[in-house]
């Protein structure tokens, strides 16, 4: 057991201690709040360090066998490069969210008088995620996976006094277990091939191509469900908004990434590159493209800030999967270097999304805390009352929209580069699919910018649309620090990608046996050249330097010249009574897209006009539009209906009288006799 491994186990131990400590401290609520939050943050710091050290010492794989679990199967944990990368991602968000929680849970303490519920399940949830990442046998993996799912169910149904929250929680629990079942199935297939639960045995097992495909499909659907891939995403937009914001930051920021981790573990590591079929990558690529587009389109129509962020998580998982799909296709076709680039792009987006989505959910929590509402139509003008939160939220918006100089831009750039490196291929379907995915990525990225102009513009800019928004207040220092940390990471990862990429280069080395460092020609910190300098290069530091110099130059040329600045009332076309209700609304902002993509949205519009004494005189107009999730109505409801019809039929057969049961017995005996005779 090496140092990184001990740190990782210590991180898990701290989470466990926090969870056990919580009920003991129940009497001292404020002490309890601080202890739990800071222990979670500490656990994050340990995980972050463990991940960093694990990635730097990329050769050694540390294992540990804990004497707990089944009598014949102790718990195997290990820290290889893949685990280390995900530990790093986990820790990078857990640390700030822990700090943020110290401030955020104050409200819960004041409202309920206790945070017992959060204090137990939040650390258990982090323990589960850390355990999944470290697991080295299927049994440990599933135990921690279930721990993660169940404790997050309790976080989703935190405010269980409201009916819609209970519904969201139930849907989540159902889908999480369906996903768990599918993953268990994937492990069962691998177990059947290898004969043992440890990953080492599964990895070296001989798989027939049919079994490999079966395991891949089970894993793809199981983890896809957990990761929120369209159309398996329906639990996500319901569950994320109702959880407390610190929990939704973790769920969206890391839990979806743990699902990505599981997918990578099973497909790349356990099934292995040699058993890939060409269409696996195509399937992942197609799923990624559809998630990216549908996720962002649905996000655009939401007026609930946290729901918007939840849908946008689907979009970003899609972008991650586009990178992974490309990596699978290229690796399978024998282009390991390009595959390594695509995988780096995908991993880069994984950590980026953890950071900016965590930041945005924390920002949404701050807004919720300040205004008491998630409805964007009731906000506006918060930039004047919450200057720090709004600036940090803006950083998140720019990062997620893929704008330089923030991190989202770098990972989208890398994904584009790997798509453009597509070598000549025999397969026509693939050679059409890859550029199509690249254009879907472009569209999704641009639509994300629309979405976050809307989110930022409606919530923080303009004038207050309600009393609550007018009386909003800035959040406390815990929460500010919690949001500052990921914002700084977003900037650093955007400006210095060259320092970070060598760190994660070990992952493709382990999974594809190829790395970027073999191909990068100019290897100093200033230039990012994925393959060679002629192919493409990017120098984010020089871009930022250029921008700063230019701004300074313009400011210097303009400052003090001309006349000063004076302020006046808003120009209102001569109409003096401009009210805040006359601003553009969130619904209005997304109206053009609703019209353009009406085939996807199927919006239900209702207009009620009240007339005065004459039809020319309109007293008021009410307009209501609802955009339902198409996947929910077209896929889930029919499945639910069919299930209900079958169960109703079975129930009907149960309720019949004695003679029916006698018939059943008779038919069964007849069938059995027939079977015996035939055999």
């Amino acid at each position: 057991m090496n140092f990184a491994m001990s740190l990782a186990v210590a991180a898990m131990a701290i989470s466990l201690i926090a969870s056990i400590l919580s009920p003991l401290l129940g009497r001292y609520v404020h002490f309890q709040r601080l202890t739990i939050s800071l222990l979670v943050a500490l656990s994050g710091a340990f995980a972050l360090t463990a991940g960093l050290i694990g990635l730097m010492a990329s050769e050694s794989e540390a294992t540990i066998i804990l004497p707990i679990g089944l009598p014949w199967l102790p718990m195997h944990l290990h820290l290889d490069v893949l685990s280390a990368f995900f530990m790093l991602t986990l820790g990078a968000l857990l640390l700030p969210v822990g700090i943020y929680s110290a401030g955020y849970m104050k409200e819960a303490v004041e409202k309920n008088g206790s945070i017992q519920h959060l204090g137990i399940f939040l650390p258990l949830f982090t323990l589960g995620m850390q355990g999944v990442v470290l697991a080295n046998d299927a049994y440990a993996f599933m135990v921690f996976w279930e721990l993660m799912s169940i404790s997050s169910y309790f976080l989703v149904s935190y405010e269980h006094d409201r009916e819609e929250n209970r519904r969201a929680g139930f849907l989540y629990l159902l889908m999480a277990h369906l996903a768990g079942l599918l993953i268990l199935g994937a492990f069962a297939v691998l177990y059947a091939a290898g004969g043992a639960f440890t990953f080492d045995v599964m990895r070296s097992a001989d798989l027939s191509s049919g079994m490999a495909t079966f395991a891949f499909l089970l894993a793809a659907f199981g983890f896809g469900m957990k990761a929120g891939v369209v159309p398996l995403h329906v639990w996500l937009p319901d569950a994320h908004p109702v959880a407390p914001s610190n929990a939704s930051a973790l769920m969206s920021g890391i839990m979806l990434k743990v699902a990505i981790f599981g997918f990578m573990r099973i497909t790349w590591d356990l099934i292995g590159l040699n058993n890939f079929s060409w269409w696996w990558g195509a399937l992942v690529l197609a799923a990624g493209s559809s998630s990216a587009l549908v996720g962002v389109l649905m996000a655009l129509q939401q007026n609930d800030l946290k729901r918007l962020l939840a849908y946008s998580s689907s979009e970003n998982v899609g972008i991650i999967l586009i990178g992974l799909g490309l990596a699978m296709i290229f690796a399978n076709l024998g282009h390991p270097v390009i595959a390594a680039l695509a995988m780096i792009a995908s991993l880069y987006h994984t950590i980026n999304h953890a950071l900016f989505k965590g930041l945005l959910f924390m920002g949404a929590g701050a807004v919720l805390h300040a205004t008491g509402s998630r409805n964007m139509e009731k906000m506006g003008g918060l930039i004047h009352r919450m200057p720090i939160t709004s600036a940090l939220f803006l950083v998140g918006c720019m990062s997620i929209s893929g704008l330089p100089p923030f991190n989202g831009f770098v990972s989208e750039w890398l994904t584009f580069q790997s798509a453009l490196l597509t070598p000549p291929m025999e397969n026509t379907m693939l050679s059409a699919l890859i550029p199509f995915s690249a254009s879907m990525l472009a569209l999704a990225g641009a639509l994300a910018a629309v979405c976050f102009v809307k989110a930022f513009g409606i919530v923080f800019q303009g004038r207050a649309r309600s009393e609550m928004a007018e009386q909003a207040h800035e959040v406390d220092n815990w929460m500010k620090v919690g949001m500052v940390i990921p914002a700084i990471f977003c900037l650093l990862l955007g400006v210095f990608p060259t320092l970070f990429i060598p760190l994660i280069d070990g992952v493709p080395q382990m999974l594809i046996h190829s790395s970027l460092s073999a191909s990068v020609h100019v290897t100093n910190w200033l230039w990012l050249t994925p393959v060679n300098a002629e192919r493409a290069s990017l120098s984010a530091p020089l871009m930022v330097l250029g921008m700063l110099l230019l701004i300074a130059l313009i400011y210097w040329r303009l400052h003090g010249r001309g006349k000063g600045i004076s302020r006046g009332p808003i120009w209102s076309c001569g109409y003096p009574h401009l009210s805040a209700q006359m601003q553009y609304t969130a619904t209005g902002f997304s109206q053009p897209l609703r019209r353009i993509f009406s085939g996807v949205y199927r919006p239900e519009e209702r207009k009620v006009i009240r007339y005065g004494f004459h039809p020319l005189i309109v007293k008021d107009i009410r307009y209501k539009v609802t955009v339902a999730d198409l996947a929910y109505n077209k896929i889930y409801i029919p499945i639910a209906n069919i299930t209900r019809a079958i169960t109703a039929r079975v129930a009907y057969e149960h309720e019949r009288g004695m003679h029916a049961y006698l018939t059943y017995i008779f038919v069964t005996i007849l069938a059995l006799l027939l079977w015996v005779v035939m055999a």
Binding site: M398, L538, G568
Partner: protein, 318 residues
Amino acid sequence: MTDAVIVWLLNLAQVALMVFTAPLITGIVRKLKARLQNRRGSSVLQPYRDLMKLFSKEVLLAENASWIFRSAPYIIFTATVLAVSVVPVILVNLPSSLIADVIAMAALLALARFWLALAGMDIGTGFGGMGASREMTFSAMAEPAMLMSVFVISLGAHSTNLSTMVEYALHLQHLLPSVAFALIAFLMVAVVENGRIPIDNPSTHLEVTMIHEAMILEYSGRHLALIEWASQIKLVLFITLISSLFFPWGMAESVAILPIISALTFWFGKIVFIIILLVIMETLLAKIRIFEVPDYLLTAYVLAFLGMLVHYILEVGV
């Protein structure tokens, strides 16, 4: 060593050329358009005078304008100038195009657009929100078409570096079918990106259908000057991109006096030619209805995608 210095100086000079001739180009567009419409039109130097006037005027801000409203003009201008600085105009081998490739250039323009839209949302007036909503929507629809059409050349050149792409285009023996598709798509997108007729009318205010102008209604003084200048630069940027990527004839491949002077002349000639086409189009066409814009953009996208497919199917390995 001195060679590198000269190249960098030329690079800077080229950026300055683009930035400072941008108002002139806009002036020429307006003059030609006025002539075609039987008007005399203002002098081609009028945009310079407008900018000078705006720079010296007082800035009038709305009461509730935030720091975003005040910083947006600077960011928009900077991002646009930075985007322009990586486009080869005269020299084919531009050292600055190593810093940001064509994807980064598109991202810089997206950055400018993002801040412009935020500025439109900042005051909370109906016009600003409307402009922001429309501009963001339509440019989001234009983004895949634009990237795809540029990627067609990237695929042929095996590079997203603009210098390498231009060099590839310069040495093409004949017009490839994929490039022809890309050219049409890119021309269509350029009209949208610059808000020209038939998509948007740059010379109207207070029209229900306007897009770009609606966002900057609240601006005044030097802020307005910076935004206007940035949009003039953006027009030159797109015209230059068209001429450099699709008609790169005459660009200087070596650093010597004669090729540079001829490249300069070629550049100006090509730009005037494209402007004439633009002006004829703007005079002949009427603005299309706003909800026909997506169909127009879909056409552009399909053309660019066809270009991509044609490249993969017919031209790979050629």
